[in-house]
């Protein structure tokens, strides 16, 4: 065990006093480095708070391209109307169809004359 005495205590006190020299003031360079670190930490935290943007699928891109739900509603209405007109055209459209494609003629597919030729 090392014993200490007054002379040792004085020696230590002198050593501590020598080491307690006036400390330097922080340089501008040090303060700038510290603030650069703070900025980096802040920027990183900001990135963590903002969720990354997910790339939309091709269905979403197509949906957006045609104008979204409002346009899709109009498109559906037009489709239904077209289908209805095709199945049951109004009378007024009959005249126009004659003008565009000529008169309608009827051709019997299974005419009696043809069947007669086949009979022995």
């Amino acid at each position: 065990m090392t014993m200490t005495n007054d002379r040792d205590t004085d020696m230590l006190d002198a050593a501590f006093a020598a080491a307690r020299t006036s400390a330097p003031a922080p340089s501008d360079d040090l303060l700038n480095r510290i603030m650069m670190d703070a900025d980096a930490v802040l920027n990183n935290a900001e990135r963590m708070r903002t969720p990354p943007r997910i790339r939309p699928s091709w269905r979403e891109m197509l949906f957006d391209a045609i104008g979204g739900w409002p346009s899709l509603g109009g498109l559906a209405a037009a489709t239904v109307a077209g289908l209805w007109i095709g199945i049951s055209p109004p009378a007024v459209l009959g005249d126009y169809s004659v003008l565009l494609s000529g008169e309608t003629i009827e051709v019997p597919v299974w005419g009696t004359d043809i069947l007669a030729g086949l009979e022995g």
């Binding site: 050593a15 020598a18 020299t21 802040l42």
Partner: protein
Amino acid sequence: MFDQSEHQRDAALLAAFAAGDRTAAMALSERLTPRILAQAYRMLGNRAEAEDVAQEAMLRLWRIAPEWDANRARVTTWLYRVVANLCTDRLRKSGRGVALDAVAEPEDGAASVASQMQDSARAHALRDALASLPDRQAQAVALRHLEELGNPEIAEIMDTNVRTVESLIARGKKGLVARLRGRKAELGYDDDQ
């Protein structure tokens, strides 16, 4: 030593920084950097190394800001602990204190050159001796005799009780005496008696 309102101000600034306030970081840097740089310089005796330690300690503070609990610790107490740990790590890794020619000369024009050199040699020898002590003893001695903190505050910094701090300081000082005795004449101690 900071009073309670200053501790609360540190905590408020740290919370503001965590919320994204850059000016809070500037205010904290200006308040805390001189203190931690001084602590590191007194333990390491080298300005460049002390600046690196101060920067590292502040970086750790920025990183812990979002999780900071003002009810659990004071910012300054936490920084004392971080700086003490970083300095003892550096002293340990270097194997001994910094080179004598890296020790800054005192700028007091009244002191003789011989006296300044003797003070530098003594400070250097003390840091060498501190570097060879167990970490906890070195930290306790440095906080008591270089930072001149009270034992209760040292106990808080080292996360222990006052009795343990007293024991660490007593053992640390005995260790320092044992290491410095052989260099008494070299360090001019005989002339002082």
